[in-house]
Amino acid sequence: MHVKILIGTAAATAVLAGFSSAALTGGEWGKYQVGDLRSGYTYAAPETRAIQDDDFENPAMLALDYGAELWSMKDGDANKSCADCHNDAEDSMKGVGARYPAFYEPWDKPINVELRINECRENNMKAKPWKYESREMLGMTSYVKYQSRDMPVNVDIGGPSTPFFQKGKAFYYERRGQLDLACKHCHEDNSGNMIRANLLSQGQSNGFPTYRLKWQGVGSLHRRFRGCNSQVRSTPFGYGSDEYVNLELYLAWRGRGLPVESPSVRN
């Protein structure tokens, strides 16, 4: 146990010693900056931003196209498609990406877009739920969130959501893993600084699902959480777990006002 703590502390110190200041352009980032809040877009290299700027060149749009196709595809024992109940996604899904995670009474807890999609599939379509990180789920989540593009993130943390929000916030500030780091050590205390050769961002969630160059594909916010948790040498939580949905709620509130950018492009 002592050895573990020592290693953890040494490694954490090493990481923190590796932070160095990077010159920040204090400039105006347009819609990607709201007060002190800056989207991950503003931390990406110009070439990466250029890919997001062009909807044709953004490879995440391939996933979104697939999501759009699935929207009107019948599935399950009820032989229904999303469109059968929700008609045109451009109208019915507008705003969803900005206000989720949202409290869901039947479950007595907040629910994110991915879980809400599967809830609909199971209960209304009588279809098999999609795997969280499947092409189908990423495509549909991208398509649904895209309908809120440029709308400011605005989640409700009041009423029954409050205790879940508090849990998410606690998670954010809680040290974890052998490196003994909390989310805030990188994304609050050191955003704008380099960690080795990467520029640390504020860890905003407004662009997910995102096409990540490292992944060479589209991935969910929970996949990113799992990556972060692994990097501080802690055991990641499950896709769609309560821990991650609560954290997702906290992050959305923390970045409230930033525009929905899904599906974005990140390093």
């Binding site: 490694a11 010693a17 990406a44 490196l179 960690i195 080795r196 160059l213 040498r233 055991t235 390093n267």
Partner: protein, 158 residues
């Protein structure tokens, strides 16, 4: 907790990687066991593409980032100065990366119907290296352009 059993437990190497030696260590250790194209093989491939003609400089413009933040997706724009008429046009441009496991990246083949000899795509670069373009003209002349691209080694498990 099972944290000590997790595959990503801290080893001495991890600690080293996390300190200043990071860039060099990670650069060398990215894909252990994979042989990189050696210089001679790259030169041979370029010579082959040139088909025996002398490699001249000029006419090619390569649009590449000086520093690529991720080697998985490096945008490249290729443009060759040419009237692109039936009697005078660019036939092909071959792109090589001399520090990749295989130096060949892509070849683009133009025709006068293109109007301009201009194309763009995205490529993978395993590390900092030279990107070389070899353009074959319809009159048999061959041009070469070389641009170095620095590839950032990711900080977060990159």
């Amino acid at each position: 907790m099972t944290r000590m059993d997790s595959p990503s437990k801290v080893t001495r190497r991890h600690v080293l990687v996390l300190t200043g030696a990071a860039a060099a260590a990670a650069g060398a250790g990215l894909l252990p066991g994979i042989a990189l194209a050696d210089k001679a093989a790259v030169d041979a491939a370029i010579k082959k593409a040139a088909g025996g003609a002398t490699l001249q400089s000029g006419r090619i413009t390569l649009e590449l980032p000086q520093i690529a933040e991720n080697g998985n997706t490096v945008p490249i724009g290729i443009e060759v100065d040419s009237p692109m008429t039936a009697s005078d046009y660019v036939k092909s441009v071959h792109v090589f990366a001399d520090g990749n496991p295989n130096a060949e990246v892509a070849s683009v083949h133009f025709t006068p119907a293109n109007g301009v000899a201009k194309a763009s795509m995205r490529m993978r670069l395993m590390k900092t290296q030279n990107v070389v373009a070899v353009a074959q003209m319809s009159d048999g002349s061959v041009y070469r352009e070389t641009v170095e691209v620095k590839v950032t080694i990711g900080g977060c498990g990159g």
